[in-house]
Subunit: 228 residues, 2 copies
Amino acid sequence: MYDDSDKERLLLAVDCIVFGFDGEKLKILLIKRGFEPERGKWSLIGGFLRKSEVLQDAATRILSVYTGLDDIYMEQVGTFSDVDRDPEERTVSTAYYALINIAEHSQKLSHRYSAQWFSVEDAPPLIFDHDRMVRHALERLKIKAETEPIGFELLPDKFTMLRLQKLYEAIYNVSLDKRNFINKVRSLDILEKLDEKDKTSSRKGSFLYRFDAEKYHRAERSRSLLNL
Amino acid sequence: MYDDSDKERLLLAVDCIVFGFDGEKLKILLIKRGFEPERGKWSLIGGFLRKSEVLQDAATRILSVYTGLDDIYMEQVGTFSDVDRDPEERTVSTAYYALINIAEHSQKLSHRYSAQWFSVEDAPPLIFDHDRMVRHALERLKIKAETEPIGFELLPDKFTMLRLQKLYEAIYNVSLDKRNFINKVRSLDILEKLDEKDKTSSRKGSFLYRFDAEKYHRAERSRSLLNL
DNA sequence: ATTTGTAAGTGTATATTACACACTTATAAT
DNA sequence: ATTATAAGTGTGTAATATACACTTACAAAT
């Protein structure tokens, strides 16, 4: 019926776009490659899929190797297959993005594998098709953030309204009015206002909030999180 | 630095979810497998990626083999990697969806490869993880349809308002008010109203419309196509 | 004790968009 | 001329988005 003799086996890689947020800018984690090809250039963290594992597990494993982090939210972005994307051997790569909270985890990874945080906007050029992967991941993150509270992953447990606002401003690269922002967020009723205040940035201090997972799941999917 | 000796080569398949619209229901094209494994069961059309081609080309080639169609809109859905998804050999598969206009193309493919159209809702169970692929493809189609005029692909060149409405009703599985629907579509200003009428379904006849690609691209991204 | 500087916090009016809803019209067949 | 059928059309109301500026709480300095 059709000719199966042309089945060709090839390498399947996994590359991870690790997003973080430092309170001002959306960041990605890059490593300076310590091996050929392209030694010394910046790239995403990555590795190869093993026959015994699924892609999601490979992505989790690779993230853990490079950052020491487990239990991190990851989502598949897409699969990139340019014929000569890897000069060594025909390799197809599936990209995943991860969302992590820089403040809580940054110290662990600072010195391993020359990993470094870069603002999404002024990251250095990356090897292979990694720049394209990052662009795709960003698009997916934007779509995700419209309907789900990605702050769960990218912010510390307790955070101020301003920080949440700046997160959305960073992701969508816009500026928002704080009154409208807070009204919108309040209407979603997925945050718990704490009694605590964060006094690091003002004398008055600003109240801390926390995501209320239960409220969120009750209200889930009813309305999108932000209209921009 | 890290151990690359575990690079394992495997098969990469491509499976295609072919969506069509018959004026009433959203349909998918399935084939009855003429080969092992799972001979005689229903499945998506698929094949294997060759070393010399990119995934998009493989998807295009596979669609062409099974349907004779070229120049069809296709989009990557995702990559599925359950370890034992294919009992023969470790195989990872990337799914693509295609949008085609049944009326114009159906005759070509009717008898080849026992291909058959099924309503998305009452399709038979599929082999491997193909049901999951279809579900994912549907989700992606819904997201796509919110912001882009998929009618370009799924409808004939000229169509009635009712047909366009039924397309959205089929995709989102809702029913819409025709007055609100037409008002919304008109406000987008991406259709050209023709002088012709389609008289097949009523004595009065209903005017035909056509997508105006130029108007569409001018208005692109300004607002989403439908809020549901 | 008072003043001052800083960021936090708050509300309303207007514009836009979504939604609900029912009768009239054009035409072919009889 | 009558009738049956689907096409075509508009408005009022509710919900949501957007624009916009002053007051408050507090710590530090005097």
